[in-house]
């Protein structure tokens, strides 16, 4: 048994949990989420660098919630999303157990938000280079090129909403795109409707996105969605100095203000 499996087994053995959500190998040579509701299945539990899905997305799923006490296998982005949804009143300290995987791949059991905060501070990683490079490339384009780039990307969108579904922060029971009085966002997959959706999505995640990049990985047509929120987070960090997912009592930068906030763009 691996250390990860040991921790999981102990949680089941002492009756702490009813369901553990972790990773296992799947039929296609990849990894996917596994839902373990008794210790017999624990041998399927694995963790390796291919395990990327942010499992915290399942915290809000009604059929998962029904199980009762939950444990999640989470790496850095997952833990950040725990703190972020905690700051948004969606999870309370003690609602679930977290088997955190550190940067060397070693598991440890975390129970309260303080531990998670410390863990995150000690396990900071750099954002993927590819993403940063692409962001820099886009920022170095002319405005017209940027517009061309993004309209090309958005034109591929078929509005399957996978980006929304896999995001642990898209937990609204009513998404703005599902509202029809008024019809904020056109229902058809038209260039304008797609643009509206991606802007709305990015704005709704601005300063909240913890950068797991799942939206981008889920996108069947490979739109680099995470760039939008990453770039917004960058500007928020520059303007207001805040970063989401670091503290359970994070003060969301767009619902707070400082008198001395910059306003050089206002006449």
């Amino acid at each position: 048994m691996t250390e990860l499996q040991n921790i999981a087994k102990k949680l089941f053995d002492d009756g702490s949990i009813n369901l553990l959500i972790g990773y296992s190998n799947n039929e296609n040579g990849g990894t996917s989420a596994i839902f373990i509701d008794n210790s017999a299945d624990i041998d399927k539990l694995i963790y390796n660098e291919n395990c990327h899905q942010n499992l915290m997305v399942y915290f809000q799923k009604p059929e998962v919630k029904k199980f009762g006490k939950l444990a999640f296998v989470v790496s850095l982005p997952g833990l950040k999303s725990v703190l972020e949804i905690a700051s948004e009143n969606q999870i309370k300290d003690g609602d679930a157990y977290f088997i955190a995987i550190d940067k060397d791949g070693n598991p440890s059991l975390l129970q309260d938000f303080h531990q998670i905060e410390d863990f995150i501070t000690n396990n900071q990683t750099k954002p993927p280079m590819g993403l940063l490079k692409l962001m820099e490339k886009i920022n170095n384009m002319t405005r017209e090129e940027r517009w061309q780039y993004w309209t090309d990307e958005f034109s591929k969108c078929i509005k399957c909403y996978a980006c929304r579904s896999v995001c642990p922060l898209c937990y609204c029971t009513q998404c703005i795109t599902d509202i029809n009085i008024p019809q904020w966002i056109s229902t058809e997959s038209s260039p304008i409707g797609n643009l509206d959706w991606h802007i709305a999505r990015a704005m709704h995640l601005a300063g909240r996105c913890i950068g797991c990049g799942e939206c981008m990985k889920a996108c069947p047509v490979d739109i680099p969605l995470a760039l939008l929120t990453a770039n917004l987070n960058k500007s928020i960090a520059i303007h207001f100095g805040d970063e989401p997912g670091m503290k359970a009592d994070y003060k969301y930068p767009l619902s707070h203000y400082k008198l001395e906030d910059k306003e050089n763009f206002i006449r």
């Binding site: 886009i138 920022n139 384009m141 405005r143 017209e144 090129e145 940027r146 517009w147 061309q148 780039y149 993004w150 309209t151 034109s155 591929k156 969108c157 078929i158 703005i176 904020w184 966002i185 058809e188 997959s189 038209s190 260039p191 304008i192 643009l195 509206d196 802007i199 709305a200 990015a202 704005m203 601005a206 300063g207 047509v221 760039l227 939008l228 770039n231 917004l232 500007s235 928020i236 303007h239 207001f240 930068p253 767009l254 619902s255 203000y257 008198l259 906030d261 910059k262 306003e263 763009f265 206002i266 006449r267």
Partner: protein, 152 residues
């Protein structure tokens, strides 16, 4: 061909800028006709989706204006708006929408002249930028042309 006349929409708060525009009226300060005003209680009420919608409806430029910092009738709506616009502007820049097409301003109830200048300046700036062709090009794509059936 007559000169391009930009369509401008102004989202203004009731207490400062709307009143400022009223004052421009009572003072008979002339300014360009291109602007259409939509009244909100406070700049804090102005949803960024409405700005997108205005572009979609054909606006070439947008003015968003409210009370000066510390003057907000509701204390802090303009401070929240200020942060929101800052972030929104950055997003538009990143996507390649010319954020110069959205002009943010503080115009108080006493600043009728400033309002008139703001409108005139915006109109001439947008006239220089030309029509908001990016959005108009998006609109021209109709969904039934066979080539476009395959989402390209």
């Amino acid at each position: 061909m007559s000169e391009f006349e930009p369509k401008i929409v102004a989202f203004v708060c009731n207490w400062c800028t709307y009143a400022g525009a009223d004052l421009a009226g009572t003072s008979r300060i002339k300014y360009a006709q291109n602007v259409r005003i939509v009244r909100f209680p406070c700049t804090g009420r102005i949803d960024f989706m409405l700005l997108l919608k205005a572009f979609e409806e054909g606006a070439d430029g947008i003015i968003v204006s409210g009370c000066h910092p510390a003057d907000c009738h509701y204390t802090s709506g303009n401070y929240h708006a200020r942060r929101r616009w800052m972030v929104f502007k950055d997003l538009l820049d990143f996507i390649g929408i010319d954020s110069r097409r959205i002009v943010f301003s503080w115009v108080s109830a006493a600043e009728g002249a400033k309002w008139a200048h703001l409108v005139n300046d915006t109109v001439s700036e947008i006239r220089n930028l030309g029509p908001m062709k990016e959005y108009k090009n998006l609109e021209n794509v109709s969904s039934n042309k066979i080539g476009e059936l395959i989402n390209d």
